[in-house]
């Protein structure tokens, strides 16, 4: 049993969890959501074991680095962070059904890692510049930030598909109140903003220890800053211009598009970062 295999199985467990959450919402069945929660916890456990095992394997191969060093590993870790954040929110706010749009993201990320032919799951050694504890802190915090924005994105979509006023369809009435979703969206954006901030900061401290400049405007850096600006705009619109609900949900979606571009799109542009 190696890490890749465990992670492949995890992919299917996550798929099952998403199906259950979507089912719970579609068929209005509370027990499906409850099952979904437990399946999600199972998937999350597998995900955790997979990551730890991969770390151990890298030491056995003599490279010895944290498993956050290529696209495959970063996607697996992305799933992990979204899963843990979502589980935390569900437990804290006691809202079951809100996983409808968040759990598919968990599944999609890890499925893309496992199935895309262009993403190799080989463990490779690190080039010298990438050997730094700052880099580990950088990757972990950036991904916590991305996870916050991903969950916020899920909630925003939910907000937009739920019609205002007394619900006509039963399906929609299963969603939590608009007020709660708006608040949750905001909580997740703040969580994401804090961690993206720490992520950018640790990245720049690392760059300063590796090449003597804390900021060099490379495309990945710039795009993470653009993302950060978008969410800073969101916070100000909400605090000072009183934006709420739909409009904030749209800004949150735009922000998540910027996250996706920072993550995937930048690889199409010239630059230093080979992945995440």
């Amino acid at each position: 049993m190696n890490s890749s295999m465990i992670l492949s199985i995890t992919t299917f467990v996550y798929a099952f969890a998403s199906v259950l959450y979507i089912g719970a919402w579609t068929f209005k069945k509370e027990f499906m959501a409850r099952m979904g929660f437990f399946v999600l916890v199972t998937g999350f456990t597998g995900n955790t074991v997979g990551i730890i095992l991969r770390w151990i394997e890298s030491y056995q191969m003599g490279y010895g680095h944290a498993p956050f060093s290529n696209m495959y590993e970063s996607l697996v870790f992305f799933s992990w962070t979204v899963a843990i954040l979502y589980l935390f929110v569900e437990l804290k706010y006691q809202e079951r059904i809100i996983g409808v749009f968040a759990t598919p993201l968990i599944f999609l990320a890890i499925a893309y890692a496992s199935l895309s032919p262009s993403i190799g799951d080989k463990i490779t050694p690190l080039i010298p510049a990438l050997k730094s504890n700052w880099l580990i802190a950088h990757v972990i915090t950036c991904f916590l930030g991305y996870a916050g924005f991903a969950v916020a994105f899920g909630f925003s979509i939910m907000y937009l598909v739920k019609p205002a006023g007394p619900s006509t369809s039963k399906l929609m009435s299963r969603l939590p109140s608009l007020e709660v979703m708006d608040e949750l969206n905001h909580q997740m954006v703040m969580f994401g903003f804090l961690f993206l901030t720490i992520g950018i900061i640790t990245g720049s401290v690392w760059a300063n220890s590796a090449w003597g400049t804390y900021w060099s405007w490379d495309p990945k850096e710039t795009w993470s800053l653009i993302t950060w600006f978008v969410y800073a705009i969101l916070l100000h619109l909400r605090m000072m211009r009183g934006w709420h609900g739909k409009r904030i949900a749209w800004v949150s979606i735009v922000g998540f598009m910027a996250v996706l571009f920072t993550y995937f799109g930048v690889n199409l542009l010239p630059g230093l970062h080979s992945y995440a």
């Binding site: 709660v180 804090l194 900061i201 405007w217």
Partner: protein, 456 residues
């Protein structure tokens, strides 16, 4: 935060302009959207590259708009300047008001505010108001903060609050941005980014400025004693290491190994391991095969020293090590260049590529030269930077994280326990509360408090 009228300063439109959050949003939007340009157009390339890529017309247009070095273009810096002014003036404008909220002469609670709140939990308990008062007072003091009591028509209300100071968090965030910008400015004005390559065994104090290709003299010298590179079994480099000695006025101060991610810092200047290459060679053994006799000979060779060839073949001088040897338009890569002078003949230049050791046979000279043994010597490439602004930036980083943490996860929370006497020995308890953020979290918190308090 409490809503308030911004102070009337109609005489000063400029001031008003810079206090507005609308301006903040517009400037951030402009920063975000213009930043995209620099990720699409490679920055700081050569003119030839741009003309080839975009054509003459667009080259001129982009060049005029500073798109090739946009992050230091005047209009980009102007946007950052406006942002800084916006933060400063907006904060100054609000500070006195915010100060009064954060450090009030007296904390006042209004029971009618709390009675109108949506966040309310109530229960009935078989105890008199006076009996409950002591218990709840202790509970609130332990869990929230100091308690204020007020008599009401129906009984007694207990108030408690915490986290008033957390309203300062936002100002910490904004201050941190000013620190970042100040640090960047200081670095740009009084710092430099340079580069130096030092072959093993050599010493220098002159570096190249990366911004203008000029040179900078350091007030100390750097000697590279040794450079080593190790590889993984996949052939990827594992580690680069330079042993450097810092020399001041001819005196050796100290020697240290510098590896990637672990720079050497001295007198405000940092030396980073950044690249390496082959500088030259040592312990070279030159072999030659005589065309006439077929005999082979080997001699130790040093650069610049003339060697007498066997069979009275004249002299050979090993001249230099070349990183790229150009042979009729082809780059033969690394190799050794030398000169042969046969007796009474003209000098001939000989080249011996590392990759093609038998290359010299094709010349069909009296001897075919070959390098049979040698060791490479390296040069180390060091990034040399001075940035006196970096500590402002790092302080800004710390402030920003702390400020965001306070702003996002802490709040100013106020609670009210409204004790109302019902009939003999029973009371109604209403617990309500408000917070300046996270109302959902507050709702849950009130529910938890109510549960605990009903069981006390």
């Amino acid at each position: 935060m409490v809503k308030h009228e911004s102070r009337q300063r109609p005489e000063n439109q400029v001031w008003k302009f810079f206090t507005s959050v609308k301006l903040t949003v517009v400037v951030l939007l402009m920063l975000a959207s213009t930043s995209i340009i620099g990720t699409l157009i490679p920055q700081n390339g050569s003119q030839a590259f741009y003309i080839q890529k975009y054509g003459e017309v667009f080259y001129n247009l982009f060049n005029r708009l500073n798109f090739f070095d946009m992050y230091s273009a005047w209009w980009f810096l102007l946007l950052l300047g406006i942002l800084a002014l916006n933060i400063i003036i907006c904060s100054l404008d609000k500070l006195s008001l915010v100060w009064k909220i954060i450090f009030p002469a007296e904390v006042i609670f209004h029971i009618h505010h709390f009675r109108k709140m949506k966040n309310r939990q109530s229960c009935e308990i078989d105890l008199s108001v006076d009996g409950l008062r002591e218990k709840y007072r202790g509970f609130l003091e332990k869990n929230i903060g100091s308690v204020t009591e007020q008599k009401t028509d129906e009984g007694i209300a207990l108030f408690a609050e915490k986290g008033r100071w957390t309203r300062l968090g936002v100002y910490v965030v904004h201050l941190s941005i000013l620190l970042l910008l100040a640090g960047a400015l200081i670095g740009a004005l009084w710092g430099f980014k340079g580069f130096v390559t030092i072959p093993e065994g050599e010493t220098t104090n002159v570096i190249t400025n990366r911004e203008n290709e000029g040179t900078i003299d350091l007030d100390f010298s750097i000697r590279c004693n040794d450079f080593t590179v190790s590889f993984y079994d996949t052939g990827q480099p594992e580690e680069f290491k330079s042993s450097l000695t810092i020399i001041d006025n001819g005196k050796e101060l100290f020697t240290r190994d510098v590896i990637v991610n672990d720079p050497l810092r001295f007198r405000g200047i940092s030396l980073y391991q950044s690249s390496y290459g082959t500088a030259s060679a040592k312990n070279i053994v030159l072999s030659m095969t005589s065309l006439e006799s077929g005999m082979s000979y080997s001699i130790k060779a040093d650069f610049g020293k003339s060697l007498n060839l066997p069979e009275s073949g004249g002299t050979f001088v090993l001249e230099r090590f070349a990183r790229h040897y150009n042979f009729r338009g082809h780059d033969l890569g690394e190799g050794f260049a030398g000169r042969v002078t046969g007796e009474g003949q003209k000098e001939i230049e000989v080249f011996i590529p590392v990759k093609f050791p038998t290359f010299d046979k094709m010349r069909r000279g009296r001897f075919a030269f070959e390098i049979s043994e040698f060791e490479k010597t390296y040069y180390t490439g060091l990034q040399v930077t001075k940035d006196p602004g970096v500590w402002y930036v790092y302080t800004g980083f710390v402030f920003m994280i702390i400020g965001c943490w306070i702003t996002f996860f802490m709040s100013h929370q106020r609670f009210c326990v409204d004790l109302q006497q019902k009939n003999e020995g029973s009371s109604k308890v209403i617990i309500s509360g408000t917070s300046n953020r996270n109302s959902q979290g507050m709702k849950i918190k009130i529910q938890r408090l109510a549960k605990k308090m009903s069981k006390l």
